[in-house]
């Protein structure tokens, strides 16, 4: 979208023209949704947060300084909407936070080209508190002090949540790396995973002398 076109749309939005609002919404849908998806657990939740964000955009668009980049402004609003959503769900997310990240070895993360969808699925699987800190630190680039202030937590919690988030993500990446490798094997050698699993089970059986654990 050209600068001129964007300015026209913004003008229309200032006048609360529904057509302009829709065009702006469509134009920045992907960008806004991209932000909200990584702060939330699923698409529906993301769409809800995104619409809350756009609502703020449409109701505060008069205050937008047109000399500044619109996309950055919109992105910040989406981020804030996500943080608001996080705060609103704080009670629910507390239970998740008790969840302890398993200690995994600092294995090398293979340079396999994981797709956007795969990475998003991983982030979305994170407990909300980890996910929010990870987003703010790793993707938005805020410091722990800033994050602590934004989320009304202390910097130590922010660091800890980031650590846990990374641990979980690494775990997931390693799993993802293993899984496609196995899949590749099937394709090449016509093995089925069930056979392999049985082999493992058999080991267990042998170790227990045929008795179930």
């Amino acid at each position: 979208m050209g600068e001129e076109e964007l300015h026209q749309l913004i003008k229309g939005c200032i006048k609360q023209d529904r057509k302009s609002q829709k065009m702006l919404y469509k134009a920045f849908y992907g960008f806004a949704m991209g932000i909200c998806l990584r702060y939330t657990g699923n698409r529906d939740e993301a769409a809800e947060v995104m619409n809350q964000g756009f609502f703020k955009v449409f109701t505060h668009i008069e205050g937008f300084d047109q000399n500044k980049p619109f996309k950055a402004w919109l992105g910040r609003i989406m981020m804030n909407a996500s943080i608001d959503h996080y705060r609103a769900n704080l009670k629910m997310s507390l239970t998740e936070d008790i969840d302890n990240a398993g200690h995994i070895s600092d294995g090398e993360i293979a340079d396999r080209n994981l797709s956007y969808k795969e990475l998003l699925a991983m982030v979305q699987q994170l407990p909300q508190a980890y996910r929010t800190v990870f987003n703010l630190f790793a993707i938005e680039g805020y410091s722990h002090e800033e994050i602590a202030e934004m989320l009304n937590i202390n910097a130590g919690t922010s660091k800890s949540n980031l650590h846990k988030a990374r641990q979980k993500l690494k775990q997931m990446i390693l799993q993802a790396e293993e899984l496609p490798a196995r899949n590749a094997n099937y394709n090449d050698m016509n093995y089925t995973p069930i056979v392999a699993l049985r082999a493992i089970n058999m080991n267990g059986v042998f170790l227990n002398k045929g008795f179930r654990e």
Partner: protein, 415 residues
Amino acid sequence: MNKEQDKRLDDLFKKKMEDPVGEIRYDEADWESMEQLLDKGKRRGFVYLLPILSGIAAFLLIMVGWWLWKPQSADQAVQQGMHLSADHQKASSSNGTGGTKPDTILELSPSVASARPYDTIMERQAQRAHKHFDEVADKNQTLRTMQEKTSNDNIQIAEGQLPDKGQDIANTGNPAGKSGDDSQNTGVTSQQPDKSAPVLAAAEPGKAVKKTVNSFRPQYTLSVIAAPDLNGVNSFGQSKVGTNIGLTFSVGLSKKITVSTGALYSVKPYLTSFSNYNTGSGYKWPVNPSSVVADCRMLDIPLNVSYQFYQRGQNRLALGTGLSSYLMLHESYKFNYANAAYGPVSYTVPHPGKYFFGVANLNITYERQINSKFGLSIQPYLKLPLSNVGYSQVKLQTTGVAVGFNWNLNSLTKP
């Protein structure tokens, strides 16, 4: 913990997730919930509009109140003027005591006129009416010089009224003098502009009015309008309730300016004293009725312009003005008589006329959009006569509130 490992992990996510262009498909359902959210938000915003709306309502009340009061006083002036003229004639013709103060006459004349049937005075004056016209005029001239500026207007009105009243007198008092009617009528007709000019000036200080229809979204809007209203002649003192229903079409010329037209079927009943009723055709009344009840049905073709001066979210306010043409479809009059007198009971006009741009519209429109396709509007309006309307040539004014359901035709070509 390996910091470099962490950095690599962060970068991996950052690179892929920062701006996932092309990865996300647009879903229309999300926009629909967005629209709902916007509509809901506007509804919340409506609360903040209340002080403004109540301010406007207060302004309208004052305006309507002013109109109710103002034309009524003018109306009284007209009636008093007429009585005054009759008394002047009487005074000058019977005893010639011209020194009577006009102020006293003004005070007395309504009771005198009502206590004494017109024909008593008229009979006596019938033959002399024309003869004494000049004399009366002279008398008035003399009086005028003696008077304060305020009573000056009344005298002027009285002067204008004289030939008219003389006509009535002649009609009543001289049943056989039909041959003379035509010539007298022409006299009346020629005098009428004189009469109406000062009356109009007194009743309407150059005010124009309008009834718009809906003004709205830029571009095209079709509206169904229903409006109850009050109709009265010269004032709303004896107003009767009428109804209007019709279709209007608006074109937004810009964001703020909307032009609208349409057709409204209007039923306008009204009650007026006989003095406002112009016999026109030269019909001789055996006894003058005390009042006239009119039943007019017409097509009201408005042509209005409105200016949107306020908009917030789904709510809009616009001021409008314009002109209306009345195409009469049916026009009938019923005559009421005092003291069980006899006379024609009713009259239906055989060929009702068309009155182009004879009425000025003034209105204020509050409009609320329900969604992108439909909206509702509420429009208090005032219709003021610029010229006489109908067979009886009355100055019919109307005030009411139009409720409209608007359909935004642009929504047919949705973005």
